[in-house]
Symmetry: C2
Subunit: 133 residues, 2 copies
DNA sequence: TCTAATGATACCATTATTGTATCATTTGTA
DNA sequence: TACAAATGATACAATAATGGTATCATTAGA
């Protein structure tokens, strides 16, 4: 099971890269060169991060990106939500609900429990945590 | 996030249907008629269930399927494993690992914890549980 | 003014999932 | 015995999600 999409994956890597170069302007070219991520695709990732307020961008020659907030504030769950939508498991695991009334569903408590744990664990992870490796 | 594939979904529905008709032979046509599942596709689902030992099949005229075990023994996690493979979150959430050495990864404990909860919760759910709705 | 960068967007490719069709084989029944 | 109704096996097709490329306009430093 794949919890992260490429966009999320690349976002973390790119942000991590920039977190290690605070103060510098980092271009998509830099990241591409050093991290070997497919440039045009990852460029879109960065643009989204900029729109979402995670990055500050400077256009033009010698332009590039910089973190818009400290690594402690960037949390994995936030990035996942941006690129993969809400990680809710919804009311029912099935495509069309199985039980007459969701309120009586014997699976509901399990579903909510799983959901809570996932969100909780992922919320606990910040970019800063990943820097200390 | 979608935890169940169509095959798993259909498997549960079909098995549930049969669990309510113990002793009878249920054909794919019956299920199709009553549950409105796409027949050729769901037929494959049934064939897999047969191969995996969940169903006994009888070929020929008036043939069909029957549960090969009591509903208490059929667990959601088992069906998921068959149709969707292991639900392991693997060692690293990322496509290529982020950390020098997985052993030092700060995410590992979270990953394992999430995995354990998922498997645990899903293991707790049997077909019998879903019948009482 | 040239060049190297981002912004925006349209398009393409790949893969996974979902679904259909077909034919061989089996078996109850008229 | 022939027919019909079922599964077994398998190949094929459609769809959707994901991943990736290309292009052009705009911006700004040298
Ligand atoms: S409503 Fe979905 S399993 Fe009960
Ligand atoms: S090895 Fe994957 S995040 Fe650490």
């Amino acid at each position: 099971m794949n919890l992260l999409s490429r966009h999320t994956d690349y976002a973390v890597r790119a942000l991590l890269y920039m977190a290690n170069r605070v103060g510098e302007r980092v271009s998509s070219m830099d990241i591409h060169r050093d991290l070997k991520l497919p440039r045009p695709f990852m460029r879109k990732t960065l643009q989204v991060l900029q729109k979402e307020g995670y990055l500050v961008s400077v256009k033009g020659h010698k332009g590039g990106f910089m973190l818009a907030m400290p690594p402690q504030k960037i949390r994995l769950i936030g990035l996942m939500r941006i690129f993969q939508g809400d990680i809710s498991l919804s009311d029912c695991l099935f495509r069309k609900k199985l039980c007459r009334c969701v309120a009586v569903c014997p699976l509901r408590r399990e579903i909510k429990s799983m959901e809570a744990v996932l969100v909780d664990r992922l919320s606990g992870v910040s970019l800063a945590d990943l820097m200390v490796r």
